[in-house]
């Protein structure tokens, strides 16, 4: 399906690629879950080991090996502050003890390792990138429809081109899904940015990754464009005010000259 002579095309190939990526992510997640559920009393099989399901389970009394260290599977060590606070909690009689500083560090994103980078940060980033690319295609389609309307609408030709260069930059082509995914995954590794992204995508309020992705795509893909459009709107309003003042300025001058 060709949209524009200037070069924008929505080919069936690209649609197929993005659909394939989304379906693959979904299926890999499903398989991951099915593989990783080891029944109690049974050992994980070969596939489960490959999928790193039990890489992180360090048996009690043993130290994590090299691979486990690479995959950030280190046994969580409790710091002195937490040791004291857990002791206090036990003395009070709380059965489910919490390690407060470890909990805060986890929430701030200090425990993000390569394992978290591969799953779920990077696939989620790809999903966000795919949504941005889809919005770009959608907006282009709409603008092309608007172009055809312009012939009917006459003298007020709308500026039927993608005004936001930003969306073009980050979602202009399907290969840009990968860099966007990578950048998001890298950002999620940084402690405070991780928390910030979780807050703005409302993970703290219990939103799941599907809707979080929509919000994230909105923030990084459409919000800059929306801010640009709003700034344009404000400038137009100021322009309108200036024109009106100039118009009335002439009338005031005329009134002062003529009187009555």
């Amino acid at each position: 399906m060709k949209m524009d002579k200037k070069g924008f095309k929505i080919s069936s190939k690209s649609i197929l690629i993005i659909a394939g990526v989304l379906v693959a992510i979904l299926i890999v997640m499903t398989i991951w879950h099915n593989f990783c559920s080891v029944p109690p009393g049974k050992k994980p099989n070969f596939f489960k080991k490959i999928l790193a399901c039990d890489f992180c389970s360090v048996p009690p009394g043993k130290k994590p090996n090299f691979f486990k260290k690479i995959l950030a599977c280190d046994e969580q060590t409790i710091g002195p502050v937490d040791t004291v606070l857990v002791w206090v909690q036990k003395k009070i009689g709380i059965k489910k003890t919490v390690e407060p500083t470890a909990w805060v560090a986890d929430k701030l994103g200090f425990n993000q390792g390569i394992y978290e980078f591969l799953w779920p940060s990077f696939p989620w980033g790809l999903y966000v990138g795919a949504l941005i690319w889809l919005s770009y295609m959608l907006i282009n389609l709409a603008l092309n429809i608007n172009k055809k309307f312009d012939k009917v609408l006459g003298p007020f030709k709308s500026d039927a081109k993608l005004q936001s260069g930003w969306l073009n930059l980050i979602g202009g082509s399907y290969w840009k899904i990968i860099p966007v995914g990578l950048i998001i995954a890298i950002l999620l590794q940084v402690p405070f940015i991780y928390t910030f992204i979780n807050i703005i995508t409302f993970q703290v309020l219990g939103l799941n990754w599907f809707f979080q992705g929509i919000l994230m795509a909105f923030y990084i893909g459409l919000l800059p464009g929306a801010i640009e459009a709003y700034t344009r709107y404000r400038t137009r309003m100021r322009y309108y005010k200036k024109i009106m003042e100039a118009k009335y300025g002439v009338r005031i001058a005329r009134g002062m000259a003529q009187g009555g």
Binding site: H33, I139, F156, F211, Y240, I252, G259
Partner: protein, 182 residues
Amino acid sequence: MNLKKIFSLIFLGLILINIASDQENWWDKTKGFLGEHVVDVTKIGPFIGNFFIGLFAGLILYLTYLIILWKRRIVDLKKSNKDDVELSEGRTRWLNFVAGRIHKPLFIGIFFATLMQVPIISTVLKFVTLEYFGYSWYSRMVMLAILIGYIPAIIENFRKGMMKNKLERKVNQARVAATRAN
């Protein structure tokens, strides 16, 4: 081998591995997993409903914008010159910003439906669209259109009117002052 075939093969292969991994109840597990991690099935219904509310609210605004635009092009252009009409197009500028293009209603729909999934924000949105007062979906749709489109547009027009009045007053004052001086 083209991409279509490669994807079909990957897809089929993944499904086969999935089934083979747990022959007994793989589908139940998958459904459970989807509900737990991907999309809660109970949330899809409200999401689609809210999406259509947002979409139709956006479409109402888009149609309003088109009607005003067409009226201006057909009626006003015959009466006055092009510059005046272009200047008065500022009346629809908020509507242009919110729903000036056909893709904007779609984004309004998606954004509204996503926000309705967030616990506290959904309560606020339900409150402002009067869902708590027993409003049905079409009333909420109109309410949303009023909130995001008409009320800001009315405020914009009001501000423009105030500005014009102010300038008009200045013209009158100048005239009166000039008359007195004469």
